[in-house]
Symmetry: C2
Subunit: 711 residues, 2 copies
Amino acid sequence: MSNMPGKEFNIADSGATKGTHSPTIAVPDITHHASNTTVDAPLLRNIASPADVKALPANQLMQLCREIRATLLNYGHRHGGHIGSNLGMVEATVALHRVFDSPRDRIVFDVSHQSYVHKMLTGRALAYLEPEHFSEVTGFTNPDESEHDQFVLGHTGTSISLTCGIAKTRNAEVASNGSSAIGNVVAVIGDGSLSSGVAFEGLNNAAEQGGNLIIIFNDNEMSIAGDFGGMYGPLARLRASGGTAQPNIFNAFGLDYRYVEAGNDVDALVAAFEEVRDTDHPVVVHIHTLKGAGYEGETDAISATHQQLQHTTATDEAEGITATANVLHDEPWHSDHCNLSDHNPHEGQCEASHWQNPDASLGKPEDPRKHYGKMAMAALEPRFAAEPGLVVISPATPGSNGITHDFRERAGSHYVDTGITEAHAVAFAAGIARAGGTPVVATTASFFQRAYDQFFQEMSLNRSRVTVLDFLGGLSGSDNTHSGAYDLAMFANIPQVTMLVPTSGRDFLDDLAWATLPADTAGAPVGSVVIRVPGEGVLAAERNPELLPITGTHNADAIRSERTLEGMLAWRVNQSGSQAAILGLGNTYPLAERAAAALAESHGITATVIDPRQCTSLDTDVLESLRERHSLIITLEDGQLEGGWGEKVTAYYANHWQHSNGSNKVDKPHNPRVLNFGATKEFTDRVPLSELNKRYGLTVDAIADAVTRCF
Amino acid sequence: MSNMPGKEFNIADSGATKGTHSPTIAVPDITHHASNTTVDAPLLRNIASPADVKALPANQLMQLCREIRATLLNYGHRHGGHIGSNLGMVEATVALHRVFDSPRDRIVFDVSHQSYVHKMLTGRALAYLEPEHFSEVTGFTNPDESEHDQFVLGHTGTSISLTCGIAKTRNAEVASNGSSAIGNVVAVIGDGSLSSGVAFEGLNNAAEQGGNLIIIFNDNEMSIAGDFGGMYGPLARLRASGGTAQPNIFNAFGLDYRYVEAGNDVDALVAAFEEVRDTDHPVVVHIHTLKGAGYEGETDAISATHQQLQHTTATDEAEGITATANVLHDEPWHSDHCNLSDHNPHEGQCEASHWQNPDASLGKPEDPRKHYGKMAMAALEPRFAAEPGLVVISPATPGSNGITHDFRERAGSHYVDTGITEAHAVAFAAGIARAGGTPVVATTASFFQRAYDQFFQEMSLNRSRVTVLDFLGGLSGSDNTHSGAYDLAMFANIPQVTMLVPTSGRDFLDDLAWATLPADTAGAPVGSVVIRVPGEGVLAAERNPELLPITGTHNADAIRSERTLEGMLAWRVNQSGSQAAILGLGNTYPLAERAAAALAESHGITATVIDPRQCTSLDTDVLESLRERHSLIITLEDGQLEGGWGEKVTAYYANHWQHSNGSNKVDKPHNPRVLNFGATKEFTDRVPLSELNKRYGLTVDAIADAVTRCF
């Protein structure tokens, strides 16, 4: 959708007329720049639960919204987060808690980015009002935090299915007992999230099921790519018609439908929700909201654009809103804190690292995803002119992975944003490969889980020459919904996949060059190649060669001379030693060098140090060569041990036991022991990487200790 | 969709008027009952490639269709297969090859069940005409078989995405070079397949992309559940209006649209396809076909129903066609050969075992899926009255998994068919669990790959009390798109999942009872439980106790006395011995007993024999107890070793090495060796199970040999 050159406009081109604020948007009366000021929010501070929202006089709702908006802006400015989508949902969330009776009525926020206001109204306002409490709530809904939260959600599109399940159980209880503890069931889903397949599956099942189910479709137009295609053109015409135009995609799924143009007018929303409360059948309430509504400075333009909606064409409308979006994105906490980034219109999915690290855009060095992502794009770009079939595909997550707006503009049709559609993206890539093109699919490890079946079927089974750039693979301080600790167990156990795990920018580019060799080039891969984009461990070592005490800066000679399958799969022995061999996969490779250096210093042991460079096959030549002089093999990986890589090394020696002299006596030097270091099978939530490394023994001390115990 | 009691009609109720054949359907002039007769098909026999279809005089096309239909019927009767969907696509496929120029024009058949006619017209007619050649082609498209086949496909819904990729590359080549070797790009997708999320993702991306792309929507109405919900009601109205009614779901995705009511009239189809050939933008051609068209005996009713379409209400229409479908399903090779089985309206996904074994419905004993599936349903059914929230969910695959039509009728709202929507099904189940209900989701292991992300996020991370019945897990003679060899690597490496692997019907029921214990029951699981439904190895042993020489028939005392998490996770030591311990997981457990018996007889070794009963955690008490008297541990599993179970046992001993006397000397009896038996990481295609077992050493001889080499 962002692959459309010429479709973006600055505010001057948008046709937006500077005018007065829309009377319906509760514009805050303080500025968020006053970052040292505590927000004055007397109404909000007195909201301990939704009952307090219900108890307010109706004429104070707008003031409450104003306070919430001010609180969000202050919070966003100081802490970061998905402020834009929450700003747009202020009035709707107040109206939800005014009309519905949570937790008896169940509200499920899709992907739960837009749940900050909900949290404020359900006893957690202080966590947004007072800096010392900012870290007390997570960025997602969480049942452990509140009885008003239904699920921990960080991936898009499942809210309709989840609410179908809740409603199904309520229906069954009512049918059986005449009553249920569950009242209305409400899904809140944004237009960006609606591009994911599971959301359509949910829509198609909702009407089928019947019974009370309310789907609030929060349409902030951030998914508009233009008026020409996909569902967003018809959606724009639907809005322009005040909800009357056909085709209406919700009707097409058999669903009842209401439209609320004034999606930031709390009174209009209260009225609309009251109408559907206790409905006896599924109904979609399409509310037209303004992402970032109330953002100081751009408010005039926003309001103007908003007001124009009813009398502009869909085209103008799209342009006007895109302009507003661009302006909003100039503010750092509107853009990259959700990794959906600069100018990317989808707000549905967020990646975790920034959520963890809201200061990243405020002067910290570039993170590994952006760093290596930009590097990869810079390597591919010069090839575009000669290789028409070379295409970078990003399912709605370019910016955080270094696929910058400028790159996308220059790439033109060599870049495709498929929306939040990992399954489509991978099948699409398989199609490109089948036609002789060279697809590169890039997103975050945990989002790739959505394409698992396409990796198996369309990609691997068909030996499609697809290159996968796996970002945020391995351990990180991410939240539990975005952890990359499981990427290797996912990719590397699929037959016919080659997964490369480069340990430097140089290797990364070399891997990318090989994976994307034009078809029929000598030595080109015969099937798909997954490249795990290096993470913090590798980037830190590249920035500080002292972290690589053995190899220092990477040696040009160490780079593969030949790009052949055999060459790419060969493990690299960077130091030959004896007694112990340390195999450091990917991000743990610098640790392998440091541990070896420590062993040399403290124990006089010169360990062999190996960079396996890939994790889908064992280099049995290297493994066999280690038998002679090594009694201990140590594998390091920064992901889950179960289903991971090190256990394959362990199993190799166990299943290729060498008997000396034909007897069954154990001949120790020929059958080295293997120790595996890596992550426990568990979910972790915003645990700093350094703490995870300690927990899993991925430290120099832990490795040295283990070696010491063995000798 | 099948969860609607009272919505099915026999032919007498359908209102279908017996009448003459529709003049547009090429009814075969021979009967398929003449199963010893070679089909007389002079035109078809002379079709060596699509060029021969183009060379035929127009007035011979209908005769060609007649011959193809006769050939399909004869083939289906003798060999089995997806005959119904192919019968409906005879004319459309002839028209496709009449109008388009494959392989320059690329045709992708979704899930590729309906590609038999395509195969006949692309040089492979003999494989359908002559019994001795029947096994020469696979049931799916396959580029290794023909340049006219684009992909190996056995899962639904990806054809639109795949063709988007092919078209994208063509577009790029044309833009760059002014030409491309690729012409028109055509996706052929059925109405059943359209319920899967990835198909919607594809639709939403097709218009966005632009350029030539033709989507043939083969609407045989087999997904109709009624006129009230989901997309099928609006689709029925769309058909009834001759393609003019709104909402039109394809328009809602921004796509151009054509309607062909006479979807079994080859001339009408040729004309329609000629109109869209070389289109410069994506267009959907919605063709209304009759699944099973020409099936002898029911043809009258079929034709009558078909003719009625333009002047009946959507309701009548749905009923009429459902009636026809039911009649068709009475013929064994119309029903269960595609595991979508009796009365299930979806034809999109097929499971492999029956395709392998077309005689299954002709008198062979019930396969394990039906056997254990029925057993599970029989155990759940009596609970329905008291447990309103107990729900069985099948994403479009009930019949082949023993969830019979009769059961579904009786289950009423306790059974939900979600369509071909695994992702929705699992999120839906998580919603049910959140509301306090007890969901049981049942389908085939390879289809569950589509819900991998929902297993991670909505199910496991949220500790949703979902029970997953994993059918066809482990090794089987399935084709490569439906193999269950990877299920354990998928499920068992997800944190917080408990995966049970029962080794008898009794254990299976016990596992199911525990997994579905009502919430808040003492000992109930705190999160999700995956139960791998026993396969052939277990069923054979249950039928023949001699295959269990140690335990014989299962001993009542061996069944868990307490249903607690600890109790469920405890491994069961069925024979205590020394020297060697054999751990047989799931379907390999009977092999473990037989190997132990052979060792006793031939080597005088009494091996310890263990049934681990689950594969998500190690019973360290048992593992530690083995150190004392065992120097060899053998793990058996009937799935992929990499990422599998046995390697976790190996890694356990490697990482819990016992040093004797505080030194680092290896003290062999305390550190047993582990040998892992299981499958190589590879795709296998219709290799008989016995051959796979031999290949992977899962035989008594191979195990005995390995043990002998160790002592």
